[in-house]
């Protein structure tokens, strides 16, 4: 099937943000002083990308989500290694590009308000363009190595944006942590791609999904090979998508600007892992081990992160843990075979989580803080923010008929079919979601105002003593995002969305709408319980939280507040004590004491030998004569005795 669109046009999706990045970088000396055009350049580019994406989505819909055929280009051809680059455009890609470009555009519009007055305004938009480009590349390409390249570039953008305010040591540290932890997972992906190439001789995604999987089914290739490959993919996904045990970077990543959190750490980049596993869904399906692995990791993460979110006092961290938890949902959805549901949730989550983050950003603009203990009562001064935030929270909590409900419901149904234990845990997590979200709403918007934070020197934001509603660009974006947060779920009714996404699979099937009354009731009850509980505890103060904290729930609290000891385990024990304190020290000892010492020893010995040797040369002529004659006699004796 020849593609109805020119390849160049597709590349433009990626090319426009790249151009934006290059342009801003090139004009940086000017834009540094007069930053406003930077935002326009970036938005124009991403707007263009969005336009093309939507067009392509239409095309993809037209093709029922089946991949369109594009040419591939040779990038590297050495020996048996052939790395090509080409476009993979199918329903999945089209949906992803639209989500990415749409959220991206909205976030950038929002950013023009949020970042106004920041010294790094232009730099910010350059980074954002870079990120968008990388993310689109990740989604679009058809070769595993190239995908990996974009995968890492996305990480780079994330690194740069988390560390955007690098003058804050916490931001710099968080950026490093994010990069390192995700890279640990990336190693798995790298290993997987090396492995599959060595074993199967191809890096083409489509080939792997069809021929290689087929070869395994035919017994031409070991099942282990596929499993190891899939496990490697899972490792990569776990790192990038902040799943247990590599989730620890995401909460720290909240040190970045809030729009960044919204775009990268909620809507797009962190779900790249989901995309990756979805991309290789046939592989995952073919490997039960990997499926189970990801299912249990996902659901465990969903629950654990939900628990930790309950005790967070920083609104962004609540959202971060919520993101981790929600991605856990998508992950176990993939693990349980709910491919389409996972992506449906990915899409809805992108919108409502971005909305929530941007709402948090709006609040931050007013109060100069993310600490919910210093907020309260903002409902009256920030009505738009409040309303949209509540919509987002409801959607997230899975309240019918908002978008979140439909996507989550679909996952739960599949889980129920597949593995009731997972369903049960997911249900608990769902309740927790509702609980912590409304805890956050209550603490932030209800009650009385608790003073806000100090404005940062050189930062933006206004007078925290008198909070006010944000600028039009920010409010407008919140409203715009609220629309899909409410309505995106309706795409599922005809099974359209599922059809598009399923079209990406080698053996596509017609998507259809699923609904299960039992599951619906269960999830709704749980959500209601969560909301009710939060309101009861934090608004109506039916239970004394402080007493609980110091009372019988103290160990639980401590465990939750220390993030279930994961940071401690990794940072303190693994990195600080084992790696730095043990391994590095030991090796450095070897380095300092080993080779050089040995050489010093040789040098020392020969030097000392010289020092003593020269004493023989004591200027006594008869000493010399003795040596002379003795030399002769000894040589003769030795020869006669031993050789002759």
């Amino acid at each position: 099937m020849s593609a109805p669109v020119s390849e160049v046009v597709v590349w433009l999706i990626l090319g426009l943000p790249v151009a934006s990045f290059v342009l801003i970088a090139a004009l940086y000396p000017v834009l540094r002083r007069y930053p406003a055009p930077a935002g326009w350049i970036a938005m124009l580019a991403i707007g263009g990308s969005l336009g093309i994406s939507v067009w392509l989505l239409m095309e993809a819909i037209g093709a029922a989500g089946r991949p369109l055929d594009f040419e591939t280009h040779e990038l590297v051809d050495v020996g048996s290694l052939l790395i090509t680059i080409g476009i993979r455009l199918d329903g999945l890609t089209a949906v992803m590009t639209v989500v990415v470009t749409a959220v991206s555009l909205l976030v950038q519009v929002y950013s023009t308000g949020y970042m106004r007055g920041d010294r790094g305004y232009a730099r910010y938009f350059a980074y954002m363009s870079l990120f968008t480009a990388a993310m689109l590349g990740l989604v679009l390409v058809d070769n595993l190595v190239v995908l990996f390249a974009f995968w890492e570039l996305v990480g780079l953008a994330s690194y740069l944006l988390i560390g955007f305010w690098f003058h804050k040591p916490a931001a710099a540290a968080a950026a490093k942590k994010a990069f390192l932890v995700t890279r640990a997972g990336d190693l798995g992906l790298l290993a997987a791609l090396i492995f599959i190439w060595v074993r199967a001789g191809t890096l083409d995604i489509a080939t792997i999904n069809t021929e290689v999987v087929g070869a395994v089914e035919l017994g031409l290739l070991g099942q282990t090979t596929l499993t190891l490959f899939a496990v490697g993919l899972v490792a990569g996904a776990v790192g990038k998508s902040a799943q247990f045990p590599l989730h620890i970077w995401l909460p720290d990543a909240m040190e970045g600007p809030t729009p960044v959190s919204a775009l990268i750490h909620a809507a797009t980049m962190v779900v790249a892992g989901v995309y990756l596993l979805g991309r290789f869904f046939p592989v995952l399906e073919a490997s039960a081990t990997a499926s189970d692995l990801i299912a249990w990791i996902g659901v465990g993460t969903a629950l654990g992160a939900g628990l930790v979110a309950v005790v967070q006092t920083d609104i962004k961290r609540v959202l971060a843990y919520s993101t981790i938890s929600q991605i856990g949902y998508m992950m176990f959805a993939l693990g349980t075979g709910a491919y389409a549901a996972a992506f449906f949730h990915l899409m809805t989550h992108a919108f409502f989580k971005a909305l929530l983050f941007l709402g948090a950003g709006s609040v931050n603009h007013a109060t100069n803080t993310f600490d919910m203990r210093r907020m309260g009562g903002l409902r009256t001064v920030m009505p738009v923010t409040y309303l949209t935030f509540v919509i987002g929270a409801l959607s997230l909590s899975g309240v019918i008929p908002l978008a979140g409900f439909w996507s989550k419901d679909e996952i739960l149904i599949e889980a129920w079919d597949h593995q009731p234990a997972i369903f049960a845990i997911a249900l608990v997590a769902s309740g927790l979601t509702a609980f912590y979200m409304f805890r956050a709403i209550v603490l932030t918007f209800h009650g009385s105002y608790r003073g806000g934070g100090q404005p940062e020197p050189g930062g933006h934001g206004g007078d925290a003593a008198h909070p006010h509603e944000s600028s039009w660009s920010m409010r407008g974006v919140l409203v715009l995002l609220a629309v899909p947060a409410v309505a995106a779920g309706f795409l599922t009714f005809g099974g359209e969305f599922q059809t598009w996404v399923l079209g990406a699979l080698p053996h596509p099937e017609e998507g259809h709408f699923v609904f299960d009354l039992g599951v619906f009731l269960a999830s709704t009850i749980v959500a209601a319980a969560g909301i009710g509980g939060a309101v009861a505890i934090y608004r109506l103060r039916l239970i004394n939280v402080a007493a609980l904290r110091t009372g019988m729930l103290r160990p639980v609290y401590r465990a939750l507040e220390s993030k279930l000891y994961m940071d401690l385990l990794v940072e303190d024990w693994l990195v600080r004590r084992f790696f730095h304190g043990g391994l590095v020290k030991a090796m450095a000892r070897v380095d300092e004491q080993g080779v050089d010492r040995a050489l010093d020893g040789v040098w020392h010995v020969s030097f000392e030998a010289g020092r003593w040797g020269r004493l023989v040369q004591n200027g006594q002529v008869q000493m010399m004569a003795v040596a002379l004659v003795a030399g002769g006699v000894v040589v003769w004796g030795a020869v006669v005795l031993f050789w002759a």
Binding site: R614, Q617, N618, G619, Q620, V621, Q622, V629
Partner: protein, 104 residues
Amino acid sequence: MTIGLEHFLVLGALLFGVGLYVALAKRNAIGVLMGVELMLNAVNLTLVAFGRFVESEVALSTSVFVVFIIAVAAAEIAVGLALAMVVYRNRDTINVDRVNLLKW
């Protein structure tokens, strides 16, 4: 027992060894030179003995050799003594164990 080549050779060997000891152990430079002379005499004796006893054309060359050795020995001694004098002038001693400014 006939007095044969071996007798002279052993005698030469003994003389050589004693001369060597004198050269190696005596502290006076002139004493050392005496030892050297003894060694050369031992060589000469050996050569002459070869010339007397060995059945070949060697006789003539040994004699000539000995003459050359004697001449050279004389020259060597002369130069040696001259050098000893110079050392004496510089150091007021000709004891070789004290002539050790140059070392290490």
